[in-house]
């Protein structure tokens, strides 16, 4: 099995107040079968053995479904592969001697906690503002009681696949959270279950998004390109349409 030597340039920052900076590392014996995060595990093992602080990075499921990992690799959120979260990226995408620059997602609304870890609770507050539906408590209702057309349920499901990783914000030249907010709004607004709060939800989530300090959307569609689950910017267009409907009714 051939191994590679990888040169890393990693953003290190002690805490939110620290100004931070890049640190160079050389990593030998990197296998092409390693995932990107496993490569970082190897780096951290090396750092710990040297008595240094390991690089902090967010991760959980490591199978592309939790949305924890979100780092900007050589200028691209989640790295070079489309429809792939950083945890699903493998070192076979790189060659021996490559230099990889790793930065945290940069946005005022995502303050850096440490190294590559950022505080994404702004997303939670957008969800809290309207990302829910009213249900009758008590006995669970029959799942198919409310008929939903197949096309509608497919569309809603496409929007529902958003894992909230924040790559859209990281990659947007304006640091806009429109794709995330649009996906959440479009998911619930597409379904009959989301109908009762449709207007209130759309307005509340749009207002919260702005309050958090995310930038404006300029329709660059870079968010769709980096989204590990491929959420379409049509969600943003739907959010805008529903916003106008909410205001004029």
């Amino acid at each position: 099995m051939s191994t590679m030597t990888i040169n890393l340039k990693v953003w290190r920052q002690k805490n939110t107040a620290d100004s931070g900076g890049f640190q160079d590392y050389k990593l030998n014996g990197v296998s092409e079968h390693m995932s990107f995060l496993e490569m970082l595990d190897v780096l951290n093992e090396q750092l710990i053995k040297e008595g240094k602080d390991p690089v902090e990075f967010d991760h959980d499921c490591r199978e592309g479904i939790c949305g924890s990992c979100n780092m900007v690799i050589n200028g691209r959120a989640h790295g070079p592969k489309r429809l792939t979260a950083a945890c699903q990226l493998h070192m076979r995408e790189y060659s021996d001697g490559d230099t990889i620059v790793i930065e945290p997602p940069r946005a005022k609304a995502f303050p850096i906690i440490r190294d590559l870890v950022v505080d994404r609770s702004a997303f939670d507050r957008i969800i809290e503002a309207g990302g829910y539906v009213s249900v009758k408590t008590g006995a669970a209702p029959e799942a198919n009681l409310i008929p939903v057309e197949q096309d509608v349920s497919n569309t809603a499901f496409d929007y529902a696949t958003c894992i909230g990783c924040g790559a859209c914000v990281a990659a947007c030249p304006n640091s806009s959270a429109s794709l995330f907010t649009g996906a959440k709004v479009a998911h619930l607004n597409s379904l009959p279950q989301g109908e009762p709060e449709r207007k209130r939800r759309t307005v509340a989530m749009v207002e919260q998004m702005e309050k958090e300090g995310f930038g404006d959307c300029s329709n660059y569609a870079e968010c769709e390109a980096v989204c590990p689950v491929g959420i379409s910017i049509s969600s943003i267009a739907k959010m805008r349409k529903d916003y106008v409907k909410a205001v004029f009714s």
């Binding site: 900007v72 070079p80 005022k108 030249p173 307005v203 702005e210 300029s218 329709n219 660059y220 916003y243």
Partner: protein, 234 residues
């Protein structure tokens, strides 16, 4: 529900306003190019067209003020988006690149603020030259009117003006390359097929408009449209 003012100034409201004003401005630009084409008509076609517009009387002023408002709203929101963008990411990436695929990052989309500001400055000079410039008075069908045509032909004899104008019109085309499609997305176009078609149509329209506006000053500079004027052309 938010008040209309609050809704209009929200992030989504601003985007929709940018789209609406953008579409109106594109319609105006079409109209403007149509008027400019009078240079290829009869010798006095351009001055007749000007007379026709002036005959609209108060309606012309309504159109002018409306157009100014639309233009200023579009420019103001565009500049505020650029300011917000800097606030939203105080520290830039050391390395940044597009992931391609569905991304619409291009020279056109990334230069919207720049091309927009150049167009804003251009319009000030443009109005100063052609709307408020000194014009001779001539008679058309026994009625006194401004000799717009001579002013246009005279102005474009200056290579700096003719080529400068053509260059700014290239920037207009660049602005519209992203702008036309973007306006439709801002106004709620959700269908993927329609979006792809719109991107192509927007690009074609941008090229047509830019070509028209670039061709005319160069045509005049190289001696075209000189009949019935007192200007010494090439």
């Amino acid at each position: 529900m938010p008040t209309l003012l609050k809704a209009a100034t929200s992030q989504v409201g601003r985007k929709i306003l940018t789209g609406v004003t953008g579409v109106l401005l594109v319609l105006f630009i079409f109209f403007h190019l149509g008027g400019n084409l009078a240079i290829f008509g009869e010798a006095d076609a351009m001055n007749r067209y000007s007379l026709l517009l002036h005959d609209l009387g108060p309606l012309l002023w309504v159109a002018r003020i409306g157009l100014l408002a639309v233009f200023l709203i579009h420019a103001w929101i565009g500049i505020s988006i650029w300011i917000n963008k800097r606030k939203a990411r105080p520290q830039n990436y050391q390395v940044y690149s597009s992931k391609g695929g569905p991304s619409k990052q291009s020279l056109s989309s990334r230069s919207m603020a720049f091309t927009g500001v150049v167009l804003l400055i251009f319009v000030v000079f443009h109005l100063n030259t052609f709307a408020f410039g000194d014009m001779e008075t001539i008679l058309i069908d026994g009625r006194e009117t401004h000799d717009v045509k001579s002013l246009v032909i005279d102005t474009f004899q200056n290579p700096l003006y003719a080529f400068g104008y053509a260059f700014v019109m290239l920037l207009l085309g660049t602005h519209l390359g992203h702008g036309i499609w973007s306006a439709f997305i801002s106004l709620g176009l959700t269908s993927k097929k329609a979006s792809a078609a719109m991107y192509t149509i927007g690009g074609v329209v941008a090229v047509i408009l830019a070509f028209g506006f670039i061709f005319i000053p160069l045509y005049i500079y190289f001696g075209g449209g000189c009949e019935a004027t007192l200007i010494e052309c090439r």
